[in-house]
């Protein structure tokens, strides 16, 4: 289960403004990847390009061996059935209640009976903790609930790829923690390929297998979580530490001299990074009720090792 997405040399611009250029990365099948980037670096545009809602200027996006960018409209609709997308605000249909919203893809694409649809919809609503809110309209519920309902709708066709557009924006830290746990649990249960676009560093440290960073119209780095969290690249360090000193400025970027100066000052104050910031944050593992597939068993074993060693050292 889960399909690989292979992006090569992707470039997108609106008019004369280049959003990002020459982005190449591979989202491995069944793994969780996070795409980080300062606000306004075109992360959402990237997601929309992946599902063919926007056409790139150059480059290719291969999903299950088919290039999204060259498909005809009706073929595109077929390939899109592999995707589940959680939009920023849930993008629920305002005229339908939550139940009908979540049932919508089933009613449109399958010939399932109403009772079977009911079973699936209630199962997904239970998964995201929305039981009892079936009759509510999207306008009557909180942003967090809308997001969870959007997620339930994205899950209902058993997608092979799930894309999350800022799942944590506008949520309080507790809900973000629950949502992260939900994402990890889901990955263990349905084994689909996940891509999360966000600027929440805490989630990026805990959740994914791979991290990418978009900055200055380019993909600065993409690779396994460990590689980015321990990287010395100034942009990556600045972003992961959420500090002002570094190449990222308020208005997108700063001039080189200023960056040099700031980094030198930072060096003076004795490696001013908060202690442990370069350490690997423990990964979030699937909850106790979830049966872990082999991939997650391996991750759990790897996670357990260094901690055990440290405990031994302490003793």
């Amino acid at each position: 289960m889960g399909v690989e997405i292979c992006v090569e040399g992707l470039t997108k611009s609106f008019g004369h403004q280049v959003i990002w250029q020459d982005v190449s990365l591979t989202l491995p099948a069944g793994e969780v990847s996070v795409l980080l980037g300062p606000s306004g670096t075109g992360k959402s545009v990237f997601l929309k390009t992946l599902v063919g809602l926007l056409k790139p200027d150059r480059g290719s996006v291969r999903v299950a061996g088919r290039d999204i960018t060259t498909l005809r409209e009706h073929e595109l609709y077929e390939v899109r059935k592999l995707f589940g997308v959680l939009f920023q605000d849930g993008a629920l249909f305002g005229s339908m209640n939550l139940y009908d919203n979540i049932a919508f893809p089933l009613r449109e694409h399958t010939r399932k009976s109403e009772s079977e649809i009911r079973r699936i919809v209630l199962e997904k609503m239970d998964m995201v903790g929305l039981i009892g809110a079936e009759e509510k309209l999207p306008g009557e519920i909180s942003g967090g609930m809308r997001k969870r309902a959007g997620l339930a709708r994205a899950l209902v066709l058993d997608p092979e790829v799930i894309l999350f557009d800022e799942p944590d924006s506008g949520l309080d830290p507790v809900r973000v923690a629950y949502l992260n746990q939900l994402i990890v649990d889901l990955n263990a249960q349905i084994d689909a390929t996940f891509l999360i676009v966000t600027h929440d560093i805490a989630s990026a440290r805990q959740v994914p297998d791979n991290i990418g960073l978009l900055f200055r119209r380019e993909l600065v780095m993409f690779g396994p979580r460990e590689k980015l969290l321990t990287s010395d690249e100034p942009v990556v360090r600045q972003f992961l530490n959420g500090r002002m000193q570094g190449p990222i400025g308020m208005a997108e970027e700063k001039d080189a001299a200023q960056v040099e100066q700031e980094l030198a000052q930072l060096g003076d104050s004795a490696r001013a990074e908060t202690p442990g910031s370069r350490e690997l944050t423990p990964r979030l593992l699937p909850g106790p009720g979830i049966t872990r597939p082999p991939r997650w068993q391996a991750i759990a074993r790897r996670e357990a090792e260094p901690h055990r060693r440290r405990e031994v050292a302490d003793a």
């Binding site: 809602l53 609709y77 899109r80 939009f87 249909f93 893809p105 709708r153």
Partner: protein, 256 residues
């Protein structure tokens, strides 16, 4: 909207491309019957009352103008004939067009525009559903059907209003009015008017859908889209009306 000539051309091209897409998608099954009925009901409900209220004074104005004109020319016996002709041929399709565009089109554009900026349309496409098939085609067909029916309503109300003003207020003779009813007008006038209404309904709905589906830039973008859709629709409708009228006179032999 950019004012550059290429921008205008591009918009016209996209609009035309969408009209073709709609045409190509019409036969695709399953037909969205529910959406069609809901939309037809909705468009009818927002247009019927204003249409009736507009067509009464419209018929009255025509009756007054023709009443005094025929008196000046000494052709009072033709006042009925002329006023029926005017209402049937020109007034009713134009009134229908204005109301379909002004009441129905704006509602369609605002609805689709709001869905677009809330990313509902994107979500629908990602769920593998073509918004042209699911949303636009039912709206275009509903608008066409309602336009045809409205045209009938306007004709009846307009002619009745004309009769009332001519006979009651201008002291015309009911007999002469009714007797001259069919001296100039013929059945093909009615068909032509209904055909015009059908085309106007399609144009209004397609322009409104196009503007709604391409709305961007938040709530203000929806407002702009609605505004532009009304302006563009009106321009297109009056041009189309002229062309169809010109063709009609060439094709259908006139009486008298």
């Amino acid at each position: 909207m950019s004012l550059s000539p290429t921008g205008a051309l591009r918009h016209s091209g996209h609009l035309f491309a969408m009209a073709l897409d709609v045409l190509r998608t019409v036969p695709r099954r399953p037909f969205q019957l529910r959406e069609f009925i809901q939309q037809a009901w909705f468009i009818a409900s927002v247009t019927i009352l204003p249409t009736a209220l507009v067509s009464i004074p419209f018929g009255a104005v025509i009756a007054l103008q023709i009443g005094s004109l025929t008196r000046q020319l000494g052709a009072q016996s033709f006042s009925g004939a002329a006023s029926v002709l005017a209402v049937l041929r020109e007034a009713s399709p134009i009134v229908t067009a204005l109301l379909i565009a002004g009441a129905g089109g704006t509602a369609i554009c605002a609805d689709l525009g709001a869905r677009k900026i809330r990313e509902e349309i994107d979500a629908m496409q990602v769920l593998g559903i073509d918004p042209i098939h699911r949303l636009v085609v039912p709206r275009v067909l509903a608008s066409m059907v309602v336009a045809v029916l409205l045209n009938g309503l306007v004709s009846v109300v307009g002619v009745a209003g004309g009769y009332f003003f001519n006979v009651i207020l201008q002291n015309g003779t009911p007999g002469a009015y009714l007797a001259s009813f069919t001296t100039l007008a013929q059945l093909s006038d009615l068909w032509a008017a209904e055909l015009k209404a059908l085309v106007f309904g399609a144009i209004a709905a397609i322009v409104a859908s196009y503007k709604g589906l391409t709305a961007k830039g938040g709530p203000k973008g929806v407002g702009d889209a609605v505004n532009q859709s009304v302006v563009i629709t009106f321009m297109l409708l009056f041009v189309t009306n002229f062309v169809m009228t010109a063709v009609y006179f060439q094709v259908v032999p006139q009486r008298g």
